[in-house]
């Protein structure tokens, strides 16, 4: 039964992925057509995502190009208008698959206005380092990177002498990545069978994850990140090495050992619930409804993946409370849910992990396929000659 449903889930996910891809291709250029209608502008195309725009009733034309970059949860597409003298006159977000609360912080600030009047020779992505929006750092950086890409597209076509020098893509390996690797290493160490102080080591990992991945860096593993990658929004690995280590180390260890290192020892929200549970002497939830809750949990995760892939917007189906807990960012519903989870955690052990977290069903899904593959491989492995009557009579190697 579980296997049949898992196959069904996989098929629907593939169908949603394909449907979303078709849908995106149809809608790709609609944004430009909506913002620059034929009644007001005449657009002369100079290649993919590049136009010279002639406003009707005005003498002076301007240049328009689009650029894309990866934000916190998904891709961002921006349009840059460049005046004939080579200065940015407008930058606007055309479409975004970003978590809505981060995007609304950008709109509430005057961040997009900071680009106005900047010369195209400058590496405008550096603006995000000085004028970036607090609490939406990755989103503001993504807008700046996409803006720079668009500006570069215009200058290389129309003002080759004004093209800004390409920024060097250095691999960003710092303290965050080191701590993450250390947490994975300690988790693996705590799994060793004959190790003394296993529990202490497990606690160190758990509370280390809570402090660093939670409160200090706010970078827990989320379904939104996984959905983003499935939808094709792969971040630049040089800048987002942390995300790649987090996802792929978890996946590789899960595939090799069959155990989920992230959920068992690193997840900051598990550490948060564990601390509250210890404070309130929380008990394990009664078992009579466990199966029902497991299926609700799986259905929620499945629905979130389908919506994200169909709409190609990973942020739209985000129901994780990590942003509200560690970054004080999220919708009212998220804060309400966080409040409920916090209070329940005082009395019931890990309610979020056991009943709502989407990462656990995803890991179980991968584990089920791993188990099936191992079983199939074992069944198809050639048996020894002595065990087979046919072999003993007709095998040429004997």
């Amino acid at each position: 039964m579980d296997w049949a449903l898992a196959l069904f889930a996989l098929l629907t996910i593939v169908a949603a992925w394909w449907g979303g891809k078709q849908r995106r291709q149809i809608h790709q250029n609609r944004h430009i057509a909506t913002r620059y209608p034929d009644s007001l502008y005449r657009l002369a195309s100079h290649g993919k995502g590049l136009w010279k725009v002639f406003p009707k009733g005005k003498k002076e034309a301007f240049y328009l190009a689009t650029g894309k970059a990866q934000g916190y949860a998904g891709g961002l597409k921006v349009a840059v208008e460049l005046a004939p003298e080579g200065r940015i006159q407008k930058i606007q977000v055309l479409s975004a698959s970003e978590t809505p609360s981060y995007l609304s912080k950008i709109y509430q600030s005057d961040y997009l206005e900071a680009f106005r009047g900047k010369a195209c020779e400058r590496n405008i992505s550096r603006l995000a380092q000085t004028d970036g929006v607090t609490g939406a750092t990755q989103t503001s950086r993504a807008i700046a990177r996409a803006g720079e890409q668009a500006a570069r597209r215009i200058t290389s076509e129309f003002f080759p002498d004004k093209t800004a020098p390409s920024p060097t893509s250095r691999v960003k390996f710092g303290i965050q990545e080191s701590i993450l690797l250390l947490l994975f290493a300690l988790t693996l160490l705590s799994w060793l069978p004959r190790l003394a102080h296993k529990k202490k080591l497990h606690r160190i990992c758990l509370y280390g994850g809570l402090i660093f991945l939670g409160f200090v860096y706010n970078r827990p593993l989320t379904l939104t990140q996984i959905n983003g990658m499935l939808a094709g929004h792969w971040p630049q690995w040089q800048h987002e090495l942390f995300t790649y280590i987090l996802i792929f180390a978890t996946l590789i260890i899960l595939l090799i050992t069959g155990r989920n290192p992230y959920c068992s020892s690193i997840c900051p929200f598990k550490g948060f619930q564990d601390a509250l549970g210890n404070l309130g002497r929380a008990k394990t939830a009664p078992l009579y409804n466990r199966r029902l809750w497991t299926w609700i949990q799986r259905s929620l995760a499945w629905g979130a993946v389908l919506i994200a892939l169909w709409t190609r917007n990973p942020g739209i189906s985000d129901y994780e409370v990590f942003g509200a807990a560690f970054h004080l960012t999220g919708s009212r519903i998220m804060f309400l849910l966080l409040g409920i989870i916090t209070i329940v955690s005082l009395f019931i052990r890990k309610p979020w992990c056991n009943f709502l977290c989407p990462i656990k069903p995803v890991a179980s899904f991968i584990k089920l396929f791993r188990y099936k593959m191992i079983r199939t491989w074992k069944n198809t492995k050639p048996v020894k000659c002595s065990e087979n009557a046919f072999c003993s009579s007709s095998c040429s190697q004997r």
Partner: protein, 103 residues
């Protein structure tokens, strides 16, 4: 408005004061009923927690009363959550010590 200001507002605060007085006066009897072995620092922590709870309610309700409904709700939500967590911790602290003494 004159009648409300002159009579009802003082009546409200008189009732509130009476309720607080009853609560403070009866606290030692609740502790006795619950077999809690209280001492001076436990009373001090309990009083601090109760003051924090009262201030949280007062602050939140004042904001709502002044028309800042959203701010009031956020204030209440955050501080009541903190009060609940601290209350559970305090309860555990009080009962943990008393259990040891009973053994």
């Amino acid at each position: 408005m004159f009648i409300i200001d002159l009579f009802l507002k003082p009546v409200f605060w008189i009732i509130m004061g009476m309720l607080y007085l009853i609560m403070i006066y009866s606290a030692r009897y609740w502790a006795q009923d619950l077999n809690l072995q209280m001492n001076w620092w436990k009373w001090l922590l309990s009083a601090a927690w109760f003051i924090l709870l009262s201030l949280s309610l007062a602050g939140g309700m004042t904001l709502i009363g002044e028309g800042e409904t959203q701010a009031g709700l956020y204030f209440l939500g955050l501080f009541l959550l903190i009060d609940i967590i601290l209350g559970v911790g305090l309860w555990r602290l009080i009962t943990m010590k008393s259990k040891k003494k009973r053994v």
